[in-house]
Amino acid sequence: MIHARGLVQTFSTGRGKEKTAVQAVDGVDLDVSEGEVVGFLGPNGAGKTTTLRMLTTLLRPTAGTATVAGYDVATQPVQVRRSIGYCSQVGSTFSGAYAGDEVVDHGMLYGMSRKDAVAKGQELFDRLQLDGLWRRMPKNMSGGQKRRLDIVMGLIHSPSLVFLDEPTTGLDPQARANLWEHIAGLRTDQGATVFLTTHYLDEADALADRIIIIDRGRIVASDTSDNLKAQVAGDLVDLEVSADEHVAVARDKLGSLAPDVTVEGRHVRGRVSRAGRAVPGLLRDLDASGVALDSIEVARPTLDDVFLTLTGRSLRDAEAATEGAGAGAGAPDGDGPPGDAPDQVVPTTTGATR
């Protein structure tokens, strides 16, 4: 469905002598099969949106080639546009227009008759729980409703491939969870291939069959979430001992299971292979040695751990570095509507026990 080879996007920043070229995307290769849901994960400024804009014909690649739905993005942009749906991260409707009118006009620009666009639009409104909002203006909708309206706009012409750019940025947890259900339904109900960019680790984890990680314009990994996490050695075990004098014993006991143990205050941490089996014995050992624990936490590897393993820095640090540096490389000035504003990364912790 998507095949890209050596995609490059270079922007110029600054003026005069201070003018410099920024390589926002630096030789990206991508392959997405029909029916896949692919999460394109990376920090702000990694090149996610720029890559997506090249694949959706909004930006001409500086170098490299890409075919989308069987058409070349550079030489057959109209055919590509007919085949894809696109939900921008900043929205797609005018805040002062009626939602239904916006959807119908959008469908008609794809060549649909008014009658067909109305019928399809109303069907999508029902499916995405927007029933009753046909004559409401987006400015009077909640954040979640607006994002679902954007998805309706992207689906109005029944595309076989849907691009979602940061679909849940800015939404509250409940609205995010609700939108996730609808995104998951794009494949099951519509049979669509979905390519979504996100910097939310849990979003990629929950929605995508396969995760492609991009950092500084380059693809650093592409695999299923489980396989990516398997690259990180072991589960994280975090022991919090009840007194300072127990730290040394706890470090030795954990050290017999984990190759690297770190101590921070009364917290002793290390990565343990198959922690579910090893921890009960560790607890018995500690108890026998008279070490009392205030808490113990076992966490499965997260995508942030994967990112750290692959790039040497955590996704959150990468986000912070991008924010500190101002605009990201993937968000060039004047390129598309505003909306590449940094957002917080939601960390994931699974399997916490005590």
């Binding site: 014909t57 007919r82 921008s88 797609s92 005018f94 227009a97 598309g336």
Partner: protein
């Protein structure tokens, strides 16, 4: 209907619907020409009387061109709002022709101008303007073409700078010499010779002269040639620029 015309009409209808939903836009748009004529026209009576011609036949064409230029120059502001809300990008990812995305918006601006022109001319006739139907028709057509040029340029500029803070001072910068050197409000011949000569280099002056000549029923070949020539040239250049910007932004 060809695909281009169909797409243009979709964009035009959408734009018109949004503007009609904003009563302030409709009322202010219609009041402008009325206020100019009622509040500024009487001031001109003693001045234009020196030329020995009907003051409203002289003044209405100038007002018409001013409305055509100045109203259209602000067209780009609404485009920036649409761009900020992601509407332009959403339209660009459809297979619709880039020219249709521009022409649909131009259509809305020109329809507004046409309605304003009809009100202005109608009111002018009521107040005593001479009735030269052929000349009035030509003058209105020239004005609408000039307004189209200004609206296309405004859209192109808006999509290039994407900032109202840049748009506003630039429009002021352009409007001031246009207003002063086009003979819209007062005849340039009243001023010093050097000012009259300087105004010859202002293209809009030739359009104003042609529209004014047409309203008087005076189709002097030279005046008409310069006026029509500049109008067509400006319209062609601005539409080319506008379409190029819509295409360039979209690859």
């Amino acid at each position: 209907m060809s695909t281009f015309l169909r797409e243009t009409s979709i964009v035009f209808n959408r734009q018109l619907r949004m503007n009609l939903r904003n009563p302030a836009w409709v009322i202010i748009g219609m009041l402008q020409p009325v206020l100019y004529l009622l509040l500024f026209g009487p001031l001109l009576e003693p001045v234009i009387g020196q030329l020995g011609v009907n003051q409203y036949t002289w003044f209405v064409p100038g007002m018409l061109v001013q409305l055509g230029i100045f109203g259209a120059f602000f067209a780009g502001f609404s485009l920036i709002g649409e761009w900020r809300e992601g509407v332009i990008e959403a339209e660009r990812v459809t297979p619709a022709s880039r020219s249709a995305l521009l022409m649909g918006r131009l259509g809305r601006d020109l329809l507004q101008l046409l309605v304003q022109a009809l009100i202005l001319v109608g009111l002018g006739l009521v107040m005593g303007m001479e009735w030269n139907p052929g000349g009035i028709l030509l003058g209105v057509v020239l004005t609408i073409l000039l307004g189209g040029a200004c609206a296309a340029a405004s859209n192109a500029f808006a999509l290039t700078v994407k900032s109202e803070d840049v748009m506003a001072p630039v429009i002021n910068l352009v409007m001031m010499p246009v207003l002063l050197l086009s003979g819209i409000l007062l005849p340039m011949s009243f001023g010093a010779a050097w000012l009259d000569t300087l105004a010859d280099f202002m293209p809009i002056r030739h359009v104003v002269d042609a529209v004014r000549g047409a309203f008087f029923g005076d189709f002097d070949a030279s005046t008409m040639g310069w006026g029509v020539g500049w109008t067509v040239l400006l319209f062609g250049l601005a539409v080319w620029w506008g379409t190029a910007v819509f295409r360039r932004e979209n690859a």
